[in-house]
């Protein structure tokens, strides 16, 4: 009788057992890393993003260091009729043999190399994305942790501040800010965009702090005489790092979409700086005659945003301890066999975990803030 009971234990128990065996003896960081690297979408996203970064910065060079791409994006002679792309497909795909040619992405009507322009634009957009998310992350974490830790009047004040920023749609403030700063310097522009994108992060961090500050280990630290700053930095922040990393990642995709949208509306990056949104805006009327002018910059925006979103999704799965993975059938069967061989006590210990909902999209879903670019 007891063997038949053991032969069909509840699935939950088995999954827990598999999970426990998987992570036995690993530190939190190792578990997170493992879970992240198991998420195929996130890995593909990470690889794509890295490839884009390397391509953009190595081809056109950074600052004084020249890149390997010889064109500069300056006007020149038009090679193909209309400036069509010179890249040709390999013979097995019906082309004339594989070649990059001089202008693989094509040229515009005055002979500027689109590959160079797109790479420069990608550089700008990536740089702005990074600055925005760093600034928003620092402000958001600072505001959120002060507000959540000290509560009281400071909390009210800071939360009114976030309400204030949320009241006006980001794209509207962004347009006004772009009007003031974008013509001057892309870096300043990015910093000020970061200054308007922090509220969603601040709210999440505050919520996290509000729960964590009531936990026993915080009490223990306080009793041991730790100062507020020590509790915040050494005890609470490391525990809130998951929320922060995940929502900062999601914020990055909001940031790049916001920047490109503003540049598209011509409230963002101004020439001579190149931005992907600006390129699309310049070339939108050329769509019917020179579609490549329009496709490439858009493709790069989509690729960056998509891979950042996938990385965020993978990180969320990795950091969320409630995240439930359904193990493969083979794993389940193996666990069942092992389970029969072992004492049942091991499993009972693990079944205390509540069957938590899959929080893939929900928990931090709004972390990137409301979609600004409608």
């Amino acid at each position: 009788m007891s063997t038949s009971m053991n032969a069909t234990p509840p699935d939950d128990k088995l999954e827990n057992a598999i999970e426990l065996r998987d992570v036995a003896g690993l530190s939190q960081g190792q578990i997170v890393r493992r879970r992240f690297f198991r998420h195929k979408g996130a890995l593909v996203g990470l690889a794509t993003l890295l490839a884009i970064i390397v391509l953009a910065f190595s081809s056109m060079g950074v600052g004084p260091i020249p890149g390997w791409w010889t064109q500069t994006g300056a006007p020149g002679p038009v090679v193909n009729p209309q400036g069509g792309p010179t890249a040709s497909l390999p013979t097995w795909l019906g082309g004339d043999g594989f070649a990059w040619g001089e202008h693989p992405f094509g040229q515009d009507e005055i002979g500027r190399d689109i590959f160079a322009l797109v790479m420069l634009g990608t550089q700008t957009s990536l740089r702005i994305m990074a600055i925005i998310s760093i600034v928003a992350c620092v402000i958001g974490v600072a505001v959120g942790s002060l507000s959540g830790f000290f509560r009281g009047r400071l909390d009210t004040l800071l939360m009114r501040g976030t309400d204030l920023v949320i009241t006006i749609p980001t794209i509207v403030i962004g347009a006004v800010i772009g009007r003031i700063f974008a013509g001057i310097s892309p870096t300043l522009f990015a910093i000020f965009l970061g200054v308007i994108l922090w509220p969603s992060l601040a709210r999440l961090v505050r919520g996290e702090f509000l729960t964590l500050r009531e936990r026993e280990f915080v009490d223990a630290a306080r009793v041991a005489g730790a100062s507020s700053s020590r509790i915040i930095f050494k005890h609470i922040l490391p525990n809130a790092v998951g929320v922060i990393i995940v929502s900062t990642t999601l914020l990055m995709s909001t940031a790049i979409l916001l920047e490109t949208a503003l540049s598209f509306l011509q409230f963002g990056i101004q020439p001579p700086d190149v931005s992907l949104g600006r390129l699309i805006s310049e070339y939108q009327s050329a769509f019917s005659t020179r579609p490549w002018l329009f496709w490439w910059p858009g493709l790069f925006i989509v690729l960056i945003a998509l891979s950042v979103n996938f990385i965020g999704d993978g990180l969320r799965d990795a950091f969320d301890p409630r995240q439930k993975r359904i193990p493969s059938r083979r794993k389940m069967e193996r666990a069942q066999r092992l389970d029969r061989a072992e004492t049942p006590g091991v499993l009972d210990a693990s079944s205390g975990r509540a069957a938590a909902p899959d929080a893939r999209d929900g928990d931090l879903g709004g972390a990137g803030g409301p979609r600004s670019g409608r």
């Binding site: 006006i168 403030i173 009007r179 598209f264 699309i280 899959d358 879903g365």
Partner: protein
Amino acid sequence: MLTFLTRRVLAGLVTLFVALFLMYLLVDAAMDPLADLRQSTAPNKAQLIDQRIEQLQLDVNPVVRFFGWLGNAVTGDFGVAWRTGQAVTVLISRAIGSTLELVTAATLLSLVLGVAVGIVSALRQYAAFDYIIIFVSFLLYSLPSFWVAVLLKQWGAIGFNDFLGDPVISWVVIAAIALLSGLLWMLAVGGGGRRRVQTLVVAAAATFAMFAFLQLTNWWLQPRVGPVLLAVLGVAAALAIVAIIAGLQNRRALYASLTTVALGVVLFFPMQQVFDALPLSNWLLAGLGLVTIAVGLLIGYLFGGPDRGVSARAAALTAFVVGVLIVADQVMQVWPPYYDALRSRPIPTFGDRTPNLGGNFWVGILDSLTHLLLPTLTLILIAFAAYTRYSRSSMLEVMNQDYIRTARAKGLPERVVVVRHGFRNTLIPLATIVPIDVITLIGGAVITETVFARPGMGLLFVESLRNAEIEPVMAYLMITAALAIIANIVADIVYAVVDPRIRLDA
């Protein structure tokens, strides 16, 4: 409740004031009303500049100017857009109308589609359908809306107009579409191997039949609903509605809905005369819609039985669908003359009306619908992704609750568990997001409106900011900010209404 409202409204007013003050300073810094004069070569340049400085009070400190503006705005005087001399109130009221059209259509459609797909996706968690939906929603969420908008404009509109010039789809393409839709339905419905094959065949055949019908009757150029199609679509809608909200074994609900369809088909021809006789307007049409729903409710109620509410609801929904189909037929009747009037390019890429079109009420509706098509599609693509993700995760959360297990354990059919216990609770978190979404969207879909040159709130803001006209920008900001604050209060109240565990006294 009252304390809550008072407190929130007061806090909101303070927030509004501070936000407007800061934005006034920012907008003032962003604008340079003298830019065009500085570059002018007019001989009386200095005089012109002085004139404008005086006109716009540019020599006054912006803080002082803000209070002057605020004083006027509070009394309802938003000033004039100085370049054109138009009153801001007129500009704004015109823009809000255009924006509302766009936003209502887009939000409703994306909400219905997104929630439905999200829930099905959650019910098929970790199945192929779920993974496809996750990927598609990620992709849509990552699309820059301006890119999609330009793409739709340059490609969708022109492509579709070209297609209408010679509306023939090759049978191979139709077969491929049918197979694709069959596959999607198969993955969405799920079930065992036999059920899957059945779904695949039925869905593919239905899609194929539909396209064949459209093709063979030259429907693209002469669209009609007609009594026969009305009956077929009405019965299909009735079956679907009853199957979801009452279950097909609830015969009373089924018969009530079918009666409603029959009534609709019978009234089809008389309604043509009625529509001709009535002085039509949007309000009248909305009134007729309400009457239709009331008739549906009445039919369901009269069928009686122990659970009248369910029959009434099913019949009312069916009545609404039938009513929409009858109106759609009226709109379709004016398609051929409209098509000719626009010289065979019926899908426009800019504006919200064709100027000097003439024609009757239905032509007006058709015209605004064709103008709405592409911008709405743009907005739907993005909002759909967000709603799918929200409703999927919300549904997953709900379906893991204990009360779902209880409902299953006491032997309720799966439909009841999903629709009554699952779906309703899924809507709770959505109820807090939707009001905020809708009301913030009234601030205009800035990018979509700009690309499609729809004269809505977003475009008004962009144009005024470019033209350095501070009055319309501030009026726009005042309205959006106030609406955002109201939206947040409304969301809290809605939350308390739909979830009795939340109380507003605190």
